[in-house]
Symmetry: C2
Subunit: 519 residues, 2 copies
């Protein structure tokens, strides 16, 4: 276990960023800030092609329809005008019904954290990164791979809280299977609220758990239920059961959360060649149909409820059926999904994912392909921002550090490029003149400390010095870094009144036996 070994103290050798002030004493990083993309997202395919996919999706929902397993959800859809037949789970939607329903979706909304400085905006050119979510396993190179557990779960929350580039906790970074399923959501949400003060993702695993999550979040934010209806304070990922099925827990989640004004992220898991057609256009058409059905349903529950369009289309390895991530096809789907979300003016969610089994060059190139696919594809929320390995089956401490470095580099790229007179530097160039050197100039001396991003993992020593230093590779540097950064964690303050109310709620619900585990 990680905490059983000596943790070296943070070395504090990272430089501050452009003098805007440091946060934690030992970790030099930019302050927490909303990121924005300063240029239009890439339009990978033409507007006409987007219309082809849009119309095909509507045709699919109208002719084939999809199966909605939850009776109450079908009743709401029927009331809204959908074609629902008694005793049949199949639901069909007229194109006008879908087009009309999605009109009330907010194009932007603010996701509130319990510390308002950690609020983030969704929609438009906004970008925010979330920690990895939902891994059954975790690993580090000292102790290898192990099943998810509470100690690692809490450690990952500490890393998410410590790093300003992680705007949100994205869900359980690793599933703490050492906590009984009846009480797990209570302990995990309690940890979200006490270990971090950022926004988080709760799971739609039945009415009871969602109700508990809403109540705990309400307590954490110090709101009444009525106030909470107008303030997004958490979110939930709603995965459709591709192809063309909406299951009971997911519909329960949408009904409870949309009614309470809490955002859901409708994310079909459309793997081309498996749960979706083998063509990218076909897989995205299926994704779009399922997303539109789910998004329209949120508006049938409550017009104006915040909701996001989630894209997760990727391809499978056709030799083995394994999902692949960070592929060129994945990037294409990220971009086309973003174009569709923008066509509908709905905030867009994508991910930072890979299929690598260790933090080698494959992990890096798949992650960076995913990241630029997300950013240039127009994603507002990038889930699984740090830690994702093995196609999502493992959250790796070293991958967390690699990803934090990558996210910080993406953030640096997105920062403004100033072309003020001072920055154009004509005086400095004149002063240095031909064949001179800029290091000694006042222009350089005034700026060099904070001029450039100082990466966490990159080793820029020359070959000989690097070799004399033992030829370290990036995964080894990542291993040293997560330990020092974990040691630098500081718990965020929490109002004692809120803490007491929260603990009392958890104790009461545990005494009642938590949530039923028969799902």
């Amino acid at each position: 276990m990680i905490a059983d070994q000596p943790i070296p103290k943070a070395r504090g050798r990272r430089r501050s960023r452009r003098g805007e002030g440091m946060q934690a004493p030992a970790i030099m990083q930019r302050p927490f800030a909303q990121l924005t993309r300063p240029y239009p997202a890439v339009e990978r395919i033409s507007d006409d092609q987007i219309e082809h996919i849009h119309h095909a999706s509507l045709e699919l929902l109208s002719k084939t329809g999809l199966d909605v397993l939850h009776e109450d959800a079908r009743a709401i859809m029927k009331m809204a005008g959908a074609d629902v037949k008694e005793g049949d789970v199949r639901v069909r939607f007229d194109p006008d019904l879908i087009n009309g329903a999605i009109e009330t979706v907010p194009s932007e909304f603010t996701l509130h954290a319990r510390n308002e400085k950690h609020n983030v905006n969704m929609g438009g050119d906004n970008v925010a990164f979330a920690m990895m979510a939902s891994a059954p396993n975790c690993s580090d190179i000292d102790n290898g791979r192990r099943a998810g557990n509470q100690k690692d779960f809490q450690n990952f929350l500490r890393l998410a809280q410590t790093h300003n580039i992680l705007h949100m906790t994205g869900g359980y970074p690793v599933e703490p299977v050492d906590i009984h399923a009846s009480a797990r959501h209570l302990d995990c949400i309690h940890d979200y609220i006490t270990f971090t003060d950022k926004a988080y993702c709760i799971y739609s695993l039945g009415e009871e758990r969602v109700a508990d999550a809403i109540e705990m979040t309400r307590i954490a934010h110090g709101l009444s239920r009525d106030q909470m209806r107008d303030q997004a304070c958490m979110f939930s990922i709603i995965n459709t059961n591709s192809p063309l099925q909406l299951d009971i827990p997911m519909m329960q989640g949408v009904m409870a959360l949309s009614e309470m004004g809490q955002p859901v992220v409708i994310t079909p898991f459309t793997l081309a060649g498996a749960m979706a057609p083998v063509t990218i256009a076909g897989a995205v058409t299926l994704q779009n149909a399922e997303a539109l059905a789910g998004i329209a349903f949120t508006q049938m529950v409550r017009p104006g409820a915040p909701v996001m369009y989630g894209g997760f289309t990727s391809n499978v390895d056709m030799k083995t059926g394994s999902p692949a991530f960070g592929t060129p096809e994945y990037m294409q789907a990220q971009h086309v999904g973003g174009q569709l979300a923008r066509r509908y003016s709905i905030p867009y969610r994508s991910s930072n994912v890979c299929a690598a089994n260790t933090v080698d060059s494959q992990a890096a190139y798949e992650a960076v392909f995913s990241l630029w696919g997300a950013i240039n594809g127009g994603a507002n929320m990038v889930m699984h921002g740090a830690g994702w390995l093995e196609g999502g089956l493992c959250c790796s401490y070293e991958k967390v550090m690699l990803d934090i470095d990558l996210l910080q580099m993406v953030s640096e790229f997105l920062q403004p490029v100033s072309t003020s007179s001072d920055d154009l530097a004509l005086d400095a160039i004149e002063e240095v003149g031909p064949a001179g050197h800029f290091f000694g100039t006042e222009h350089t001396q005034e700026r060099y400390r904070d001029a450039f991003y100082s990466p966490i993992l990159s080793d820029w020593r020359n070959f000989e010095t690097w070799q004399e230093g033992g030829s370290p590779i990036a995964i080894e540097r990542a291993n040293a870094e997560w330990k020092s950064r974990l040691a630098a964690y500081e718990p965020p303050p929490l109002d004692p009144v809120i803490r007491e109310e929260l603990e009392a709620f958890v104790a009461k619900r545990k005494a009642e036996g938590g949530a039923a585990t028969d799902f």
Copy 2:
């Protein structure tokens, strides 16, 4: 030495790409093809900001000017209207002179290979990749790092010829220092022409060498000198001596090549914080001024001569002075450089570079940042496409394989996304229905073999199978791959008449003592 060890035969396990036919028997890859970017390049900063940089560059050239060490070059500039004073190397250019001179630059041109099927277009949305160039060292993980030599030089040419994703040889992949400098250019260009039939880059190292390169290329293409003047058959990189200096060999190269209608790529090496201001805007302003001066000079030599705008601005590690590559600042400079080149309608060159010392995740993320910076920044020519390690000091066999995989993935992303009825797959989705699986459908069966890119290095096995297989990391897979691919090399045909003329020329020049080595 590589060839001294047993080379396993190519295994031929890669699948063909979309049935468009295979090339070499053992290596499955797309046929050689011009790539194009199917969406507009990213405009990282505003048009107004681009004008700030443009005007600052012109002001710099007009007020400060730059040093031109070659007397004949100064005379040409003076004749064109530049401010040149007797006995002074400093040259100043009026803004109108620069603006007027660059008007005759061709916005697009074709770079001819001796095999016309390997011609590539520069400018517009065209993209082409070149092999790494100019490394003093090379390495592989079996035999480590060593000084450049002819055997490795030839091996890298074989790999460049074998892989269709490498459109050009970019220069000497590694400097063969075991060939005497007087004859090295003769042997190297001879090898370019005989080991490959793709376009290549020659070095501007004095009048004699450039004249030899022109003559050998003329022979290889079977052209008269007059015909050659209208046909770009090779190119040369012209690095300015930043800051603000144009040296003698570089100017000799421009004069000889532009006069002969052969493209030069004016590439200032403006490292922010060292040879350029510490701000990205300042470094790019210096880059732009130097590039404009060089580009304008090509048009003074011969209006209409093909020329490219080369961007190589990066930052240095301010702790050590080491150049950094693939950084967020490098990407910003790539994008801004591309915007400037497009403002002038001049074809744009960028690079695939990193500062890593081994093929670990750092090598991958720096390379992928560079690559997307080049592609989305609007580069037409991507130099150092495969092999670059250690900030350019080493060409690595394993990095060649990593990069070829990355370039192929970029190429896949750029391929058309069809939204034909067949590809939208509504019938297949209807057939499969809710909760079904697509693998068994005719739609999938007809397409699955070629539906997705099959990476060279990515290991998509699940963790357990991967672990049972010895937990291989990407660099190990790259090591196995370059050997099989080297073994699959087939020399391109060469007309015996041309070969004879070429050999005779090389023999004659060697008998004459080659080129003087007093530079």
